[in-house]
């Protein structure tokens, strides 16, 4: 909201220069968004007014704050006017059918007016505040709005049919051309001010063309009313019309000062347009606003602020803001002025006292009453641990937007019934890219790979930890997910190294997940061959825990890489972190290093190529119990002399006992058991 400093001076003495005024206003909580200087000692301030301070939406309101800051009081504008013998009620009839939405409606009239252009002082002030000058009568209504915060509307009385103003809901399909030139079809949700026949304006928001003031207007009917703030807010939002008027009504306008604002406008209209003011004011008010009284226990002030403010200072502040305040026995009895709609309880008064005392004078003190031990929610702890491990494996963290659309899912070529398709829609999306909540991190990661590839960055190893959303009966279930995407080289400066030795493969991705599982001490996780529409059919796996698949990993289907312009071979994984973390053990437990030496034996054998290595290892481990400590594959060979369809596997096995040095016989015995298991169970042929 714009205020002109020289205009403020009409109501309060301002002993500050422009720069100091800026500082003062912002320390009072009136945020200064911009200053436009005029000459050496005048300026227009653009102020940010809090949503609960309708009373500050005027020069008088701002002046009141400055008066309190300088311990003075404001000079109120005059509304004195000579009234004619004829009364308004002889000509005008007002009917308010919705008193809840229109707590007060007043009408008065000025006759024999000459409509013309406004005097320069008036237009200059309006224009300084970004209000266009229309004619002297309309300009006065705007002037009083800027001055006192009361929006008004002036009608050409001779175009108000039946001499009636009716506050009623619009009729269904009632058509109205508003002053912004838009023809609107209304419905009963919208409250209008109508004449005897049809709507003449949308209540509190905008007037209409048929009854507007023109050069030929002689009789001015002046409406000054107060509207229900939520109704104004809803209507203004629904119609997409925000005006100076609606901005004030939705914050709340002082119901008690409507007559004085009306009188002020009449006085000014007479001053700039001549004419006679009819006597009386039609004033329809269902209920007077009760006077609010608050007992402020003075001990509340230090209890909330943590510093002492003297009682005298507090009382003086409240009084210069327009409160009545009487102190006795440590309690201040306060009567709240009608324009302070925001003040309801002690704390509201404490804030006014604190603002005027100065926030900068409140000390900075560390709380002393409790010594607390910081702690972490287990889920945060776990998420940080996962992030840490992945970073240690060399991955870079990315963050993608959880709002998405169907096209992102189409990338994955999902079958019709796939759970990823079951997304939570947003009811009121803003842009068409953001109409659903994501069900998977995969499209986001593919997008990251794609945009980096478009910058010719093809060594991409990234992960994201984020939430996915899935519909359930309560609305949406949130699930923490982990996504990993890897492609390109894992080492920089790999000159003279064979490129395949540094390039990411399926096993690099699997290794990352294995490292994660090991660090989280998750037991019994298994990788099994699996299928997913976005993965290479021969290079896809699922990660299972206790028989349940909790993730997928593999090589991105070459058709997808091509369609998305991704680097030729890309690996991608997604894991349900929630399920994984259920089995995680974050707290390390000390295990003493072994005291007795281990013994190593190698074993090499030929087995059907179709037997997964996981199965071979499981067989070795079972047979090697309890002495077998570790099983490490060190070679796979498939060419001749190994027969077609079979492969040679070579393992290094190590044996150890926790309580003795093993004998050669013990090892021979265990190796025998392993050999038999491989031969009998898997049809392996042991090589010597």
């Amino acid at each position: 909201m714009k205020v002109l400093v020289s205009w403020l001076r009409e109501y309060v003495d301002i002993p500050f220069k422009v720069d100091e005024l800026e500082e003062r206003l912002s320390m009072l909580g009136l945020g200064v968004e911009g200053i436009e200087r005029i000459g050496s000692d005048d300026a227009v301030f653009d102020l940010e007014i809090a949503a609960n301070r309708g009373d500050l939406m005027s020069h008088l309101g701002v002046a009141r704050e400055l008066a309190a800051a300088t311990r003075s009081t404001v000079r109120l504008p005059s509304g004195d006017v000579a009234r004619d013998r004829q009364t308004v009620s002889e000509f005008v009839h007002v009917e308010v059918r919705e008193p809840d939405l229109c707590p007060r409606f007043t009408a008065t009239m000025l006759v024999d007016v000459r409509v013309g252009s406004s005097p320069e002082w008036l237009t200059r002030r309006l224009e300084a505040c970004d209000v266009r000058s229309i004619n002297n009568i309309v300009d006065v209504t705007n002037y009083v709005m800027l001055e006192m915060g009361q929006p008004m509307h002036a009608f050409d009385f001779d175009r108000v049919r039946g001499g009636r103003l009716v506050v009623r809901p619009a009729r269904s399909k009632e058509v109205l051309t508003t002053l912004d030139g838009v023809q609107r079809t209304l419905d009963p949700q919208t409250l209008v001010v109508a004449d005897a026949e049809q709507a003449a304006g949308i209540a509190g928001i905008i007037g209409a063309a048929p009854s507007e003031i023109t050069a030929s207007t002689r009789r001015v009917l002046l409406e000054a009313a107060v509207w229900h703030p939520p109704m104004i807010r809803r209507t203004s939002k629904r119609l997409g019309v925000r005006t100076e008027s609606s901005a004030r009504f939705e914050r709340g306008v002082d119901q008690a000062s409507v007559p004085s604002a009306s009188a002020r406008a009449v006085a000014l209209m007479q001053q700039v347009g001549g004419g006679r003011a009819l006597d009386g004011l039609i004033d329809v008010q269902a209920r007077r606003v009760p006077q609010k009284q608050i007992a402020l226990n003075w001990s509340t002030v230090p209890r909330v602020l943590g510093t002492d403010v003297s009682l005298n200072e507090g009382v003086a502040t409240l009084r210069s803001l327009g409160f009545q305040a009487e102190a006795s026995d440590g309690t201040v009895r306060v009567v709240v002025p009608s324009y302070r709609r925001d003040v309801e309880r002690e704390e509201d008064l404490v804030e006014d006292i604190a603002r005027h005392h100065g926030y900068e004078r409140i000390p900075e003190e560390m709380p002393v009453e409790v010594t607390a031990q910081g702690s972490w929610a287990p889920s945060i702890d776990a998420e940080r641990a996962v992030r840490d491990v992945l970073i240690r494996t060399g991955l870079t963290e990315v963050l993608t937007v959880p709002l998405t659309n169907g096209a992102a899912l189409e990338m994955l070529r999902l079958p019709d019934k796939h759970p990823y398709r079951d997304a939570v829609p947003i009811r009121n999306p803003m842009v068409e890219d953001h109409v659903l909540l994501r069900t998977t991190l995969l499209p986001g990661l593919l997008h990251v790979a794609r945009s980096n590839a478009s910058h010719r960055l093809t060594d991409i190893q990234v992960f994201e930890i984020g939430r996915t959303f899935h519909p359930n009966r309560a609305g949406a279930r949130e699930q923490r997910s982990l996504g990993v995407l890897m492609t390109g080289a894992t080492l920089r400066g790999a000159w003279n190294l064979p490129p395949e030795s540094v390039r990411v493969t399926y096993y690099t991705l699997k290794g990352v997940l294995e490292s994660l599982l090991a660090e989280l001490r998750v037991p019994e996780a298994e990788f099994r061959s699996a299928q997913a529409s976005w993965l290479h059919p021969g290079r896809a796996a699922s990660l299972t825990l206790g028989g349940h698949a909790i993730g997928t990993l593999g090589e991105l289907h070459p058709d997808l890489s091509r369609a998305l312009d991704l680097p030729a071979i890309t690996y991608i994984a997604e894991v349900d972190l929630e399920a994984l973390l259920e089995h995680a053990v974050l707290q390390p437990r000390f295990v003493p290093p072994p005291r007795y030496p281990s013994m190593r034996r190698d074993i090499s054998f030929v087995v059907d190529a179709g037997v997964p290595v996981a199965e071979v290892e499981a067989a070795i481990r079972r047979a090697g119990r309890p002495l077998l400590e570790s099983v490490e594959l060190f070679d796979i060979y498939t060419a001749a002399p190994v027969p077609e369809g079979r492969r040679n596997l070579a393992y290094a096995l190590s044996f150890r006992s926790p309580d003795r040095t093993l004998t050669a016989e013990e090892i021979v015995e265990t190796m025998g058991a392993i050999t038999r298991a491989l031969e009998k169970g898997l049809g392996a042929k042991i090589r010597d």
Binding site: E364, G374, L437
Partner: protein, 336 residues
């Protein structure tokens, strides 16, 4: 040969043998050459060995002296050989090492270093600071009820402050949380004062993406409830936080503000890069918010604060466009 061992000339011949042998040792440049010299003089058929073999031909009277001279010669040559062997070994190793020299300026093999996203990094930093000040770090859901997100924070259906927090709804009552303050409303339930709670997370507001706004962003919210919690404590804790995050000399200011859930309310600014930057809002919890959570506002007071993270990261690192935080361009991510 035997004649040389006892004639005067023989004495000089022996000297000559010694001189020749020593010259040969000095001239040997490798272990192999040295071995040849050793063999020529001290080997089984070597010159010195043969002189020993001639010793019996010398008269008994002269034999001890001749034997002594021969022994001396042999010892001297052995010493010389050993010394020379050491020299040759060192020089051979030196030249071998010289041959093994590499171009130390060739590029190193650099394993890729993983890193946090700059937003995660900042959120963790903030969590760590408050954890250090005794706060319990908690989290909440991103899908929230209208009741918790607004009403329990003193923002009824028609509250004008809702305009600034235009929400994405997924049903009549469910929305994507517009601020992490909603977690405060949950955290107060089921806990008894005193409490120090902090939460961080994603929030959503109905904005089209542009250079300074994204429909999703990050916030930090915290509060402290106790019998003697004051606005001065709020200032103490937040100033300490700002100094830990931005440096010990950081200037801060608190300016009156308006939030429906706090009264009095204050906005926190820090002076950074020659400008005042707004970090967020704060204040003393409105008594009604405490009442909603079943906390007696007569007995307890509470301060609360909410800080925006994304803008702060932009200002702190000079990132001109908020969308760059979401582009995940590796050339950007790898700078942090």
């Amino acid at each position: 040969m035997a004649a040389i061992l006892f004639s005067v000339r023989a004495m000089e011949d022996l000297k000559r043998v010694a001189q020749e042998a020593e010259a040969a040792i000095r001239g040997a440049g490798s272990k192999q050459a040295l071995e040849e010299v050793r063999r020529a003089y001290l080997g089984r058929k070597g010159i010195v060995t043969r002189l020993f073999e001639d010793l019996p031909k010398v008269t008994a009277a002269e034999r001890p002296a001749a034997g002594r001279r021969l022994n001396e010669l042999r010892t001297r040559l052995e010493t010389r050989l050993e010394e020379r062997l050491r020299e040759v070994t060192v020089s051979e190793r030196t030249s071998r090492l010289a041959e093994e020299a590499i171009d130390v300026t060739l590029p190193g093999r650099k394993p890729r270093l993983g890193r946090r996203h700059v937003l995660s990094q900042t959120l963790e930093e903030v969590q760590d600071i408050f954890h250090g000040m005794g706060f319990e770090i908690v989290e909440g859901t991103e899908v929230e009820t209208d009741e918790f997100n607004f009403e329990r924070l003193n923002m009824g259906r028609d509250h004008p402050a809702r305009d600034a927090q235009d929400s994405f709804f997924i049903s009549d009552d469910l929305l994507l949380r517009t601020h992490t303050t909603v977690v405060d409303a949950h955290a107060m339930i089921g806990r008894a004062p005193p409490m120090r709670i902090l939460t961080t997370g994603r929030c959503y507001r109905r904005d089209a993406p542009d250079w300074k706004r994204m429909p999703v962003f990050h916030q930090v919210d915290g509060f402290m409830v106790g019998e003697h919690i004051t606005l001065a404590n709020l200032k103490g804790v937040l100033v300490s936080f700002a100094r830990q995050l931005f440096g010990p000399e950081t200037k801060t200011k608190f300016v009156p503000g308006y939030f429906p859930f706090t009264e009095p309310s204050a906005e926190l600014y820090v002076y950074f890069n020659n400008q005042w930057m707004e970090l967020g809002g704060s204040g003393m919890f409105h008594p009604r918010v405490l009442e909603y959570a079943g906390i007696d506002p007569q007995r307890y007071t509470a301060f609360a604060f909410g800080l925006g993270i994304d803008r702060q990261v932009m200002v702190r690192y000079g990132i001109p466009d908020i969308r760059m935080l979401w582009d995940n361009d590796l050339r950007v991510l790898e700078q942090f």
